[in-house]
Each structure stands twice: as C-alpha cells, then as structure tokens.
C-alpha cells in the first residue's frame, strides 16, 4: 500500500524544477493583484469622507451587473470588504485556472506524452504522480495566500478578515485541485481534463452569478465553490464555518480520484476506447476538413456554454431596471459609466458583452494554438508532405478560430436578443440590435487571434505568450483604472477601444483600426510561418 506513494518526493522536486519560472510568476501576479487593488481602494477613501464610501457601497450593492460579476459585498460593508470586493471572486477565478493548469500539467499531460512510462518503470508508485501534482498546486495556493495575507495585514486591514480571505482562497484552491484530480482520471486527454475542470469552474461562476443577481435564485450560490467564498464574507461577518463545505467536498473528491485511479490503466481514461469508422467520411478529405474534425468538439462545448451564459444574461437584464429604482444608485451608475447611456439595461448588457468577448477571445486563442499543438505533436509533418501548402494548413485552423469566435458571439447575441425581445414585446427591434451589440467586440477578438498567429509564425516557442497577453488585457480592463495604471498601458488592450453597445454611439475609426491591426498581425504571422522551419 505504502508502495503506491513512493517517489512522490522526487517527482515533486522534478516538477518544481520544471516550473521554476511559471510558479513564481503566478504567485507574484496574484499577490500583486490583490494587494495593489486593496491599497488603491483604501487610498480612494480617506477617513474624512465617510459619506462617500457609504454612497458608493450602496451603489455597488444594488447593481445586478456587479452582483453577477463579483457577488454581493460582505455584510457589514466595511472599507476593507470594499477593498477586496473585486478580487475575492475575480482573483479567485485566476487562482482556480492556475491550479487546473498545474495539476493537469503534471498528471494528464505527462501521461499523454508517455513520460510516466519512463518514470513508472522506475521506483515511482502508482499514486505518486497525482499526489505530487496536487501537493504542488496546494503549495502554490498556500504560498499565494500567505503572501496576500501578509500584504493585506501590512496595509493595516482587519486581521480576522485577512485570515478569512486567505482561508477562503485556500479552500477554493483545495476544491479546484480535487476537481482537476478527478477530471484527470475521467478522460484520456489533457484537453478533456481541462474541459471538465474549467467547465466546473464556469458552471460555478454561472450558478453564483445567477444566485447573487437574480431575485429568488439565492440558493444557487450555495451549490458553487465560488459562491461559498462569498458566503464566508471576509472582512464582514467572517463566517469561518462555511469553509467546512469546500473542505468536505475536496476530501470526498480526492477519495473519488484515488478510487478512479485504481480502476484505470496508465494512459487510458475510464471510458474504454470504442472502435470508429474504418474509412474516412466525405468531409475528412482536406486540410479544412481535418481542422474542423479536430476542433468541432471544443466549438460545440463553447457553443453550449455561451447559450447558457446568454440565458443567464438575458434573464438578469430583466431584473436590472426593477432592482434599480433608487435614483441615487442610478445617478452613481451613470457617473461611473462616464459616457451618456440611455438606460441601465443597456449599460449592463454592454458591460457583460465586453467581458464575455474576452472569454471568446480565449476560444480564439485556443483554436489558433491548435496550429502549434499539431506542429509539436508532429502531426503537421505528414500533412505538409502532401499537396497541402503551408498557407492552407495555417488558413484552415485560422478560419475556424475567426469564424468560430464570430459564431459564438452571434449565439450570445441571438439568445440575449430573443429573451429581451420576448420580455419587451419588441423582438424585431431587440434581436438585431443585440446581435449587433454582441458582435461589436469581434475586432478586438480578432486582434487576439492575429497576435497569436503572429507569435506562432515568428517565435513558435513562445506561443503560450498569447495567454499572457489575454490575461494582461483582462487585468488592465478590470483593474486598470482602480490600480491607476498609466493610460497608454490601459489602451494597449484592444478591448479598451470598443464602443459601449447596446446604447452607446459607434465611431468607425477604432473598429477599423482594430480590424486593420488584426489583418497585419495575421499576414505577418503567416509570412513568418511560410519562411520558418517546421517541427
């Protein structure tokens, strides 16, 4: 029995060595985000002006857009609670994604690439890789929480609340580690593992967004790991007992993962491989057909996800107006939006569409990175040894990235438009308007696809840099003004140049500039790929 754990230590050391740059970057980035945004918030509200805090808190507390994104403010709404309002959930999502990436990287990816077979023949126990990966993820979470706690305490924030915040994040990290551990046993591919784990995260976000923002749906938040975090209410009631839920769930999931691990073969998933067709169908006869075959599954998953998100937003939008009767709140929201916005529902929808377009940009990047995946897995070589040119190989995946992201935003706009149209009795007006509004961020999404192509064509080794860019765009968009980042840095993000739709006015120039930037990036990247070695 003890034999199945042997070798965990050496695996852990190996993994730490491999990730010696990645880990400190994640920990440092997350800690910086939490501490810097808390500090910036506290600096906004000097003790001399208590009314201002009360007013802003009231504005935030009632706004369904904020409720859906960040959840409710802790009760009582202290300045400290306000200082971590955005980071509890949003930072938590980043933390969760990092945990998924680390656990997957050291379990399923290794196994898929056959490296465990080399190790497995040595003195490494059957459970050791999974244990090492989980310990590594938990270690990362623990260090992050410690640094954040030290920083927040250093800002003079309430010690009990700081403890609650740190434990809150640690509990989320624990649950997501356990979720990924199970996901890694269920499928035979690293991709499948990510889909399951991030799917759980997405559903958690959706459940708590609905629970927090839709009246009468509050129970849903209790089904979500992200919801549990908010129920703890750090810097408010500091309800530590809520943490028992994520800890229990994690223990159960770890036990499940261990059981599953016993029951499957190395390299396999739980679901046995079924035989497939003996000959290729009509569609599988061109580079595009192959790219579609490889990518259609993930487009389907994304389509379902955006359908659900669309339903969520469509139903939230209805309650926006009714929940915001208070004139003071309406006034605050107008001031915060800066520009002239005719109604709050539009403001809400515009904010959601922009935010979701960042996720769709994530799809676009992932779809484009298939190019690199195919190249690294040596699948490109036999394809390019046929009459398929490099342009066609590149174009096939690129087309799916560009059209796929368009399709996803179209689905979003159509669902929200239909729901709003039915609710207002103006389907003919709402549907086209909201489809247009949902598609408005497309040029920014395409810029992300273009930048990914550029990296792939010129410096293929750095393709994961595309994700760093997306995180940068997300952080400057979400936290840029709060952190007081310089204007030029905030405007680096293509998403900073989008019109506020529906409701806002459209100027063509920024959109044309974005489309032009995307075109230049794509053609430079393609040219680079045409000229470089493959492999």
């Amino acid at each position: 029995m003890s034999g199945s754990w042997t070798g965990t230590g050496s695996l852990l050391r190996l993994a730490l060595r491999r990730d010696r740059i990645l880990l400190p970057s994640i920990v440092g980035g997350l800690a910086l985000l939490v501490i810097a945004s808390a500090q910036a918030t506290i600096a906004l509200y000097p003790d001399t002006d208590p009314q201002r805090l009360a007013r802003d808190v009231a504005g935030v507390a009632g706004n369904p857009a904020f409720l859906a994104m960040y959840g409710p403010l802790a009760d009582p709404p202290t300045l400290d609670a306000f200082a971590v309002f955005k980071t509890v959930v949003m930072g938590g999502v980043f933390l969760a994604i990092a945990v998924v990436a680390i656990v997957r990287r050291h379990t399923r990816t290794e196994e898929e690439e056959g490296r465990f077979e080399l190790l497995g023949a040595g003195v490494v126990g059957r459970r050791a890789p999974l244990l090492a990966a989980c310990l590594m993820a938990m270690g990362m979470v623990a260090v992050t929480c410690l640094i954040c706690a030290a920083g927040l305490a250093g800002l003079g924030m309430d010690p009990t609340g700081t403890l609650a915040f740190a434990l809150d994040w640690a509990a989320l990290g624990l649950v997501m580690t356990a979720v990924t551990a199970v996901a890694a046993q269920l499928t035979a591919t690293a991709r499948g593992c990510t889909t399951i784990a991030l799917g759980v995260l997405g559903v958690s976000f959706g459940l708590r967004a609905a629970g927090d923002a839709v009246e009468g749906a509050g129970a849903l938040s209790w089904l979500s790991p992200l919801g549990w975090m908010l129920k703890v209410q750090p810097y408010g009631q500091n309800r530590f007992w809520v943490l028992a839920i994520p800890v229990t769930v994690a223990v159960v999931l770890f036990a499940v993962a261990a059981r599953l691990l016993e029951r499957r073969d190395l390299g396999a998933g739980l679901v046995a491989e079924r035989p497939g067709p003996a000959a290729a169908g009509r569609w599988l006869g061109s580079a595009l057909g192959l790219a579609w075959r490889l990518q259609r599954g993930s487009l389907l998953v994304w389509t379902v996800a955006l359908l659900l998100v669309g339903v969520l937003i469509g139903s939230l939008a209805g309650s926006v107006a009714s929940m915001l009767d208070d004139p003071a709140t309406q006034d605050l929201l107008r001031r915060m939006s800066g520009s002239e916005v005719p109604d709050l529902t539009s403001l809400f929808l515009a904010a959601e569409f922009t935010f979701i377009s960042l996720a769709v940009a994530g799809y676009g990047i992932a779809a484009t990175l298939r190019l690199r995946g195919e190249e690294r897995d040596l699948h490109t070589e036999p394809v390019l040894a046929t009459a398929t040119s490099r342009w066609i190989f590149l174009g096939s995946h690129l087309l799916i990235a560009l059209l796929g992201s368009t399709w996803l935003l179209l689905v979003l706009g159509a669902v929200v438009g239909t729901m709003r149209g039915l609710a207002t009795g103006d389907l003919a007006g709402q549907l086209p308007t909201l489809i247009g509004a949902a598609l408005a961020p497309l040029p920014a999404v395409w810029v992300c696809v273009g930048l990914t192509t550029l990296i792939f064509g010129l410096v293929p080794r750095w393709t994961s840099g595309a994700w760093i860019l997306l995180v940068l765009f997300l952080v400057v968009g979400e936290f840029g003004s709060l952190l007081g980042l310089p204007a030029w840095l905030q405007e680096v993000s293509p998403f900073a140049h989008l019109p506020s739709l529906p409701g806002g006015s459209v100027t063509a120039l920024p959109l044309i500039a974005l489309a032009a930037a995307a075109t230049v990036a794509v053609s430079t990247g393609s040219g680079g790929f045409r000229r470089r070695d493959v492999g």
Binding site: P275, E381, L384, A385, D533
Partner: protein, 312 residues
C-alpha cells in the same frame, strides 16, 4: 539539362540548428527506378535531409532538388508525386487508422480502394481503432499503408519498419519489391541491414552530416578489406609482408599470419603468401555488418579512407 532530372539530387547540403551542425556538405543522388538505401548512425542527419527534401526545413547551403525542382519553393506541386513515412509516426488520437489513411491519401490527390484494402489485409491492420489505442508497430503500419496505397512515383521512407515484427517486415519487403518492379523510386532510410541488403540497388552511407560512401553494395564491398588468415610453410619476416601494398593490420606469429587486405590487391598479396608455401588459408569477404560498422565508426575519424567515394 538534356536528360530528365533524377528524382533526388543533393549536393553539398548544409543545415545547422543553433550550435549543432546537422548537415555538413551532404551529397545524395537517387536515380529513377532504384531503391536507394540511406544509412548512417543515430543523429547523422538522415531525417534532417529528408525534411529538407520535403520542404519542411530550409537548407542553409548547398543544393537539394526534388524531381529537378526546389523543394522549398514548390513543395505542394512536387508533393503530389511522392508519399512519405515519417521517422516518428504520431497519429491523431481521436481519428481511426482507416480515417488517417484516407485523409493522407486524399490530401495527396486520391486513394486507390483496391490497393488500400489489399494492404490492410496483408499488414493485418484493423482500421477501426483510434489513433491512441494502436500499438507502436500498428501505428507504423498505418503510416506504411497510407504511403504504400498511393500510386506516387517516389516513396520517401524514414525508418519505415521500426517496430514491425519479422513477419510484417517480410510483407514490407515484398511490397517494396513490387514497387521496384513497377519502376517506381524509393529512398529508404534504415538501420536494418538485412532489409537494406535485400532491397537496395544502391546505398549512401552518411556520418556526421556528410556522405562517406555511396554506390552499389558490390562496389562498397570492394572498398572494404577482406580478412585473410594463413598458415605458411616458412615464416616470413614481418618486413616482407608489411611492404606489400594493400596489406593492413598485419599480425604474424611464426608461420601463422593474419591480416586484412584491400580487395583490389588480393591477388598480389596471395602471390606473396604463395611464395612462402601455403599450408592453409581462410579468406572472408566483409559482411555487410562489417562494412557498416567500418563506415560508421571509422569514416569520420581516420583521415585515411574517410572519403572513399564511388562516382555514381
């Protein structure tokens, strides 16, 4: 330019990866209708040469011509005329073997259903399995069937039989013989000497990115020395034999002598030995294995016979 170009012509090809020099002036000519063996120790640059020929890598210097054209600039058009088995076969995990075979064939321009069915049968390959559930040998068979099922005039095969069992190895050899009988051309990179001996009309041996030998097997054999052992009636003085041209590695103990002799001088050496009265004599022509070990091991190191090339 009068005669049609050879399917493959490479002269002085160079390629480096950062600090590693992978190809250092490599020459290779494959003539129409021959099966050409491409041999060399691990890391000598065989796969790199093939990748440059396919336009996947760009050579740093020298000339590589595929059907007389530039493989880098005209890759797609030239590729319609060839089929390729990569040195490292990886299949798409969620495509079946049958799908991969059809896909690659269609990307090249079409599949011949009769040949495909016959090959699946001969290689005993189940086309309904998904890529990730094939064993190593069966993955290799998928790539082989995909290439052999085509009517391409040139086959470029990079260690095509690695992982195949001896029975399948035999099936492969039969297939290549049929292809040769059809007058098609094959470039075969291989470490399996019996396979090379069985199939190849000519071979090129490379080492550290350079061609060290090239020619038919018989020609190459002549370049290597025959080992000769003899017991003589009168013990010769070492100087007597050492001076004879073509004698190497001489060991003499009394009337017992052993040496290696250049094939070209065998006659004159035997005459010298005969003048001492031969009691017994054994002479062994070099085995293919000796030939290769000799080339792999020594060619690059000793200046002596490093560039024994036979003009094509």
């Amino acid at each position: 330019m009068g005669s049609p170009a050879h399917p493959i012509e490479i002269e002085g090809l160079r390629k480096r990866f950062g600090a590693t020099i992978a190809l250092d002036g490599l020459d290779l000519t494959v003539r129409q209708g021959e099966v050409h063996g491409f041999l060399g120790p691990n890391g000598s640059g065989k796969s790199t040469t093939i990748r440059i020929l396919l336009g996947l890598l760009r050579g740093d210097g020298g000339v590589a011509r595929l059907f007389g054209g530039d493989p880098w600039a005209r890759a797609e058009t030239l590729h319609r005329r060839l089929a390729y088995v990569p040195g490292e076969v990886t299949l798409w995990p969620n495509l079946t073997g049958g799908e991969v075979i059809d896909l690659l064939a269609r990307l090249r321009g079409g599949v011949n259903p009769t040949t495909r069915a016959r090959l699946l049968d001969r290689f005993e390959l189940d086309p309904t399995k998904k890529g990730r559930s094939y064993s190593k040998g069966n993955r290799q068979k998928v790539a082989l069937v995909a290439a052999l099922a085509s009517d391409a005039e040139l086959l470029i095969l990079d260690e095509p039989t690695s992982g195949l069992d001896p029975l399948m190895e035999r099936v492969f050899q039969q297939c290549i013989e049929e292809i040769r009988d059809q007058g098609r051309t094959v470039l075969l990179s291989s470490h399996i000497l019996s396979e090379v001996e069985q199939l190849c009309d000519r071979v090129s041996i490379i080492r550290a990115g350079r061609t060290v030998r090239s020619g038919s097997l018989d020609e190459l054999r002549e370049l290597t020395r025959t080992s000769v052992q003899a017991v003589l009636e009168r013990a010769p003085s070492p100087a007597e034999l050492d001076g004879v041209t073509g004698v190497h590695e001489l060991r003499a103990e009394g009337t017992r002598v052993a040496m290696t002799v250049d094939a070209a001088h065998l006659g004159s050496v035997l005459a010298v030995l005969g003048s001492h009265g031969i009691r017994s004599l054994t002479s062994q022509p070099p085995s293919l294995e000796e030939l290769f070990v000799h080339s792999y091991d020594r060619a690059g190191r000793t200046g002596h016979d490093a560039r024994h090339e036979v003009a094509p």
